[in-house]
């Protein structure tokens, strides 16, 4: 622990801390451009020069390049250092254009701040300014190279940190240019971070272009709900519209960064560019009414139905984008009023997988994304990180940069921004592959040291997974796994079998008992699926059962709280028919979903930006999102009226839990437990440990010290004989285009990947199909027409169908389907 003195203040810092960071701990902000904690020091900008008065280094040195050492005496205010920094600013400013007024960075520009603080105000350089031509970099990022100060942050972030190779430095000397080989959209789905990382306005945010200045924004800490990871964000609102979303530093979750889906997929909350897409007003039977009327209508209808048919004729639906508050309220109401539900997942199988995953996490084994970065062996089983949880891919990349071996066991044609070994196993084989990999890594001595349960489990693991199937030597990987110290298993809950999450947990447990610091991370299907799994009992009814009860006529009313079965349920025709039999369909939502359109009573709810809400991420971390603004139809884009009103147009929305509470006519729900925090604590015992009195809870983890039930002997199923000439159709998520808030965000429309059905190239060849063909896939209720994309890097015998916009996949009987070869036809 070196001790050093900076500006007469003494500090002790951990070994390896840079002087610039040591100063920051003391509250001394040494100016910097190229240095960034996540990217490290490269000493390019020379802005962080300070004077070393005593110690191993003397004179002007870059504080970002030097590790703190004992006996250093450093002055940041020494005249020589100040003069030098001022000169650096002068050098940087000789070519910087005079365009702050038309630059979106103005007001939040590091260069602007440091130029002002250095006192450089007058241009002395007699020469002319260098100029550059800009490039088109896609719909998210605007490029203005004239402003560049060549700190290399963008290329270091883009190439080294995020692992994409289409943006970098060109030319030499003072003609240095940061751009692409040719104009075009940036390939990285993490490109938005360039905006944050650039110290000046070279890369600016196009959705927020020319709209607002930083000082006019209402900013609040928020949480991203586009996928389960719960990345921390800052919501920025102005004129009743969310203008942009920035990454908020959280060392355990997302670090400094954010994926493009989370960053640019916010426009659903504004109702799109014309603000018309979001349902702003309450409706009864499609006609606009006041909130009070809608509340009264739904409330009276519900009690009517309850009186006539009994409370069990009412069913409540929740979803994976409900806040924890809404979920707790739903669960409480269902219990007290005797309603059916709440049903969180449309697919019961997914629910069971999530539940078994959540049950198996404990604080010893659950790792955060930060801890994944320090893993030295990562097994990704049944998860397509880039499409399902983009920031997790970035975390794994950091591990990969530290030379960790990455193994992906998944049938999909996975692409990730780092090197990995891909075992294209079909879902049924993922367990075998994972099991044999883990089993192979347990040495004989280690096996002896295990207790009986673990030993039994280990023995029951499948011994072999043929190299033939994967083309990769599992024993070789197992040897590497054996040598690792901190392996992490990342397990998906999408396409895998129902027993896989538990098996992954057992494997991680086994690795831990064999003396490794093993970790486990689940990729869950939605922002709040963790808490919904905690809230629902083991005997919860599935949506399909509910649907048949509706068909039978025993259910008369349905309350859909931010839930849209039309998005998730595969058989649209059946759903259509069933829901039209209902007496009452109450929809509470902020998205213009199909359910909202068909609701007999609609009540607008608040988005995450418009209320205080809580979400639990897949490692059990409770995160609180604060309200950013009050909401309402944005003023943005049209001339504001001159009239004086005492209400906000579109300001009728309220948090879904509040609406539920009001329509339940159950005033005692809140009164009896007094506060929202106590409601949550009462519904979720796991919450108790975090201290219910301190609601809102932020950053506490609600997972037990030790989970129960482990080492269930895996079923050593016999190899399912390949059915002749047929395919297993798998539905998957795709970045930007398939998750719920994103598909309603028109900002993302420009980057939707082309709809495609994926198929192994050999399978395609056997079926006489080739890449780019439009094929028709015959299913029972109807057929799907889609473009075919073939790949060699995926499992054989499966068809991958993203549930994305542009594919009418809801013509299936169930969530998976077996397609005979002859039902795939080229058209």
């Amino acid at each position: 622990m070196p001790r050093l003195v900076i500006d007469d203040l003494e500090i002790e810092v951990p070994k390896g801390t840079k002087v610039i960071d040591a100063a920051e701990r003391l509250g001394i902000m040494i100016p910097r451009f190229c240095y960034h904690e996540a990217l490290g020091a490269v000493g390019a900008c020379r802005m962080c020069a300070v004077k070393f008065i005593q110690g191993p280094f003397k004179g002007i040195q870059m504080s970002c390049m030097i590790d703190a050492q004992d006996g250093m005496i450093v002055s940041t205010t020494d005249q020589e250092a100040v003069d030098f920094r001022k000169r650096v600013i002068e050098w940087l400013m000789i070519n910087h254009p005079h365009d702050c007024p038309v630059c979106d960075e103005g007001g939040q520009c590091l260069l602007q701040d440091e130029t002002v603080s250095s006192g450089h105000a007058r241009r002395r350089y007699p020469g002319k300014k260098r100029t550059y031509r800009n490039q088109y970099l896609g719909p998210f990022i605007a490029h203005e190279m004239n402003r560049c100060i060549h700190c290399y942050r963008c290329s270091r972030y883009y190439q080294e940190f995020s692992g994409y190779r289409d943006l970098g430095p060109l030319q030499i000397g003072n003609r240095l240019y940061f751009g692409r080989f040719k104009e075009g959209r940036l390939e990285s789905p993490y490109s938005g971070n360039l905006v944050d990382i650039c110290p000046t306005g070279v890369y600016t945010d196009i959705p927020a272009r020319y709209k607002v200045r930083r000082w006019d924004l209402q900013r609040s800490p928020s949480v991203c709900i586009h996928c389960a990871l719960g990345c921390n964000t800052i919501g920025n609102a102005h004129y009743r519209a969310v203008m942009r979303v920035e990454a908020r530093m959280n060392p355990y979750v997302n670090g400094y960064f954010l994926c493009d889906e989370g960053r640019f997929g916010f426009s659903y909350t504004n109702g799109g560019a014309d603000h018309a897409q979001r349902p702003w007003t309450s409706k009864i039977g499609g006609a606009d009414v006041t909130v009070e009327a809608a509340l009264a209508e739904s409330s009276s209808k519900l009690s009517e139905i309850a009186a006539v048919y009994g409370p069990e004729a009412i069913v409540a639906l929740g979803s994976a984008r409900n806040s924890l508050e809404t979920q707790s309220m739903l669960s409480r109401l269902c219990r007290r009023k005797g309603w059916l539900g709440p049903v969180w997942f449309t697919d019961t199988a997914v629910y069971r997988k999530v539940r078994s995953a959540v049950e198996r996490l404990d604080s010893g084994i659950a790792v955060s994304m930060r801890e994944i970065e320090f893993a030295d062996f990562v097994i990704i089983a049944g998860a397509d990180l880039l499409n399902e949880a983009p920031m997790a891919a970035i975390a794994v990349r950091q591990a990969s940069r530290k030379n960790a071996q990455i193994v992906v066991i998944d049938p999909r044609p996975i692409s990730l921004p780092f090197e990995f070994r891909h075992v294209p196993a079909v879902p049924g084989q993922i367990e075998r592959c994972l099991g044999s990999l883990v089993k192979g890594s347990i040495s004989k001595e280690e096996l002896k040291g295990l207790d009986s349960a673990a030993k039994g489990f280990c023995k029951a693991l499948p011994a072999k997974f043929g190299d033939k199937e994967s083309g990769i030597s599992i024993p070789e990987l197992a040897d590497q796994l054996m040598a690792s110290r901190r392996p992490v298993i990342v397990c998906g809950t999408g396409i895998v079998s129902e027993s896989t999450p538990a098996l992954a947990a057992d494997c991680a447990q086994l690795l831990r008992e064999s003396g490794k610091k093993a970790g486990l991370f689940y990729i869950l299907p939605g922002a709040s699926s963790f808490s919904s799994a905690l809230l629902s009992g083991p005997d919860a009814k599935g949506f399909a059962e509910i649907l048949s009860e509706i068909e039978q006529g025993s259910i008369k009313a349905l309350i859909a709280a931010e839930s849209d079965p039309f998005r998730d349920f595969p058989d649209r025709e059946r759903l259509d028919k069933a829901l039209s039999q209902l007496d009452l369909l109450v929809a509470i939502d902020y998205l213009p979903t199909e359910t909202v359109k068909r609701a007999s009573v609609f009540l607008p709810s608040s988005t995450v930006f418009e209320m205080n809400s809580t979400f639990v991420n897949p490692e059990g971390r409770v995160q609180h999102a604060e309200r950013v603004h009050a909401g309402g139809v944005p003023i943005w884009g049209a001339h504001p009226p001159r009239i004086v009103r005492n209400f906000i147009p579109g300001g009728d929305h309220q948090p879904a839990w509040e609406i539920l509470w009001k329509i339940s006519a159950e005033t005692s729900v809140l009164e009896s437990v007094l506060t929202l925090g106590e409601l949550i604590a009462a519904e979720m015992p796991a919450f108790e440990a975090t201290g219910k009195a301190q609601y809102p809870v932020n950053q506490a983890r609600i997972i037990p010290e030790k989970s129960e039930g482990s080492f269930v002997k895996p079923k050593t199923r016999p190899e399912q004989g390949q059915k002749p000439k047929g395919f297993n159709l798998l539905l998957t998520d795709r970045i930007f285009a398939s998750r719920e808030p994103s598909v309603y965000a028109d900002t993302l429309e420009g980057v939707f990947p082309e709809p495609a059905l994926f198929m192994h190239s050999e399978d395609a060849a056997a079926a006489g199909l080739s890449d780019g063909d439009t094929v028709s896939v015959g299913l029972e209720p109807g057929s799907i027409e889609v473009k075919l994309s073939v790949s060699e890097r995926m499992a054989r015998g499966v068809l991958i169908l993203p549930r994305q916009k542009g594919i009418e996949w809801q013509r299936m009987k169930d969530f998976s389907a077996w397609i005979a070869l002859e039902r795939i036809r080229k058209i």
Partner: protein
């Protein structure tokens, strides 16, 4: 005193010495003795260390020390890089050496590699020396044929091979760490140690980068002993001979091998035919473009690392560029600054933005648009570019520093006259 010829003893006009010629002059004896005789590599390092051989590429770092810095337990493969990417204006000694005695370099490389058990050698050569690269490739094949190179050299069990790596041509590639990046196919930006290339160089393996001339000295040291090498120099602290490249206003510009410490006057007047008729010595750069001017006052200074250091200068590459009284020093400084500004890799601010700034000021002064305050700006900037990432910018500042030290009157004259008193346009 007779001129001791070590590196140039096989000098033939217009052709390079062949393997046989080299062998006749005692070539490959050291290789036979040390590699063939499986002498402990530590012995090689000790001898070279003792001889006082210092890097001939400009920095003057003791060669033996560099080899010693490779950790004994470092992983294999290890690499040796011969740096023939001389791009310093005024320097051409490596080209002359290559065209004179390529085997001397090859043997030097093998011995150096042997000293720290390198497994592969890179001969890094710049594009305008393509003829040298061709010669080198040809002679490497010859050496391989003779069993001096390749697997199991001379039956010693030690294997080493050399490949010629052609550069795309940039001054910064001559910097050791940038050179390594260039070989690896990355952008040739310098990297500030630690880690030192001797620990983590090419592909994170130990790598030693030596100048071609340094390597060429090694066989001779090992053959004749360190003391012999030391005695070659005139000055007590110097060691060996040095290839002096003299260009500019002398009668016979070129490269000659002279003992370390030969005085400047003797070099110019005796060995390079004196100043051309009608010219008087005004100033010279003693070691390439990134050194300070020597004026008439320094005419008798011995050309050695230490002696030049004593007067605040550097021997650099010992490329002496001689300017006569008709040369405008401001224009010269501008030309040099233009060179450096152009060749900056663009990594750090002082070099990327500071050098063009200084070039602009010098250009304005030369063209009669100068102002008095530019002199102060130049002075302070010369000091400030020292805080740059690598040594390019400090090197670039050297001529300007000495311009302002020794020729301030001339600069002020430019400003006063609003134009160049020499009427020589610098060109842009």
């Amino acid at each position: 005193m007779a001129q001791p010829l070590v590196l140039f003893k096989n000098r033939h006009p217009n052709r390079a010495a062949t393997l046989d010629e080299y062998k006749q002059s005692g070539g490959y004896e050291a290789l036979q003795k040390f590699v063939g005789g499986k002498v402990d590599p530590g012995e090689v390092i000790r001898l070279v260390d003792e001889s006082g051989l210092r890097g001939r590429g400009g920095a003057g770092f003791p060669a033996g020390k560099k080899w010693e810095a490779v950790p004994k337990d470092a992983p294999f493969p290890r690499y040796l890089v011969a740096n023939a990417d001389e791009m310093e204006p005024g320097t051409f000694k490596d080209r002359i050496l290559l065209h004179t005695d390529p085997h001397c370099i090859i043997e030097g490389m093998i011995l150096a590699a042997y000293a720290f058990s390198a497994t592969k050698g890179f001969f890094f050569v710049r594009p305008s020396y393509d003829s040298s690269a061709v010669i080198m490739e040809r002679e490497l094949e010859v050496a391989r044929g003779a069993g001096f190179l390749g697997k199991n050299i001379l039956g010693s069990g030690y294997s080493f091979d050399i490949v010629v790596h052609r550069s795309g041509g940039r001054y910064i590639c001559g910097e050791a760490t940038a050179l390594l990046n260039a070989i690896m196919g990355k952008r040739p930006n310098p990297i500030k140690p630690p880690p030192y290339p001797t620990e983590k160089g090419l592909w994170d393996r130990p790598t030693v980068v030596n100048n071609v001339e340094t390597l060429a000295c090694v066989p001779h040291i090992l053959r004749n002993g360190p003391q012999w090498f030391k005695d070659l120099a005139i000055t007590p602290k110097g060691a060996g001979t040095k290839l002096f490249c003299v260009s500019g206003k002398v009668n016979s510009p070129g490269a000659e091998e002279l003992p370390m410490g030969t005085p400047l006057r003797e070099i110019i007047e005796k060995h390079f035919g004196g100043m051309i008729p009608g010219s008087e010595f005004k100033a010279c750069l003693p070691g390439g473009a990134s050194t300070r001017f020597l004026t008439r006052d320094h005419y008798d200074v011995p050309m050695d690392f230490e002696d030049l250091k004593a007067i605040g200068n550097r021997l650099g590459t010992a490329a002496i560029m001689i300017f006569d009284q008709k040369t405008c020093m401001v224009a010269t400084a501008h030309n040099l600054m233009r060179f450096f500004a152009r060749e900056s890799c663009g990594w750090c601010t002082p070099c990327r933005e500071g050098l063009p700034y200084m070039r602009e000021l010098l250009w304005l002064i030369e063209n009669g648009e100068g102002k008095e305050e530019y002199i102060d700006t130049l002075r302070s900037m010369c000091k400030q570019v020292w805080n740059s990432y690598c040594a390019l910018a400090p090197g670039a500042a050297e001529p300007v520093i000495s311009l302002l030290d020794f020729f301030e009157d001339e600069v002020r004259e430019h400003i006063r006259l609003k134009g160049c008193p020499f009427h020589a346009k610098a060109g842009n």
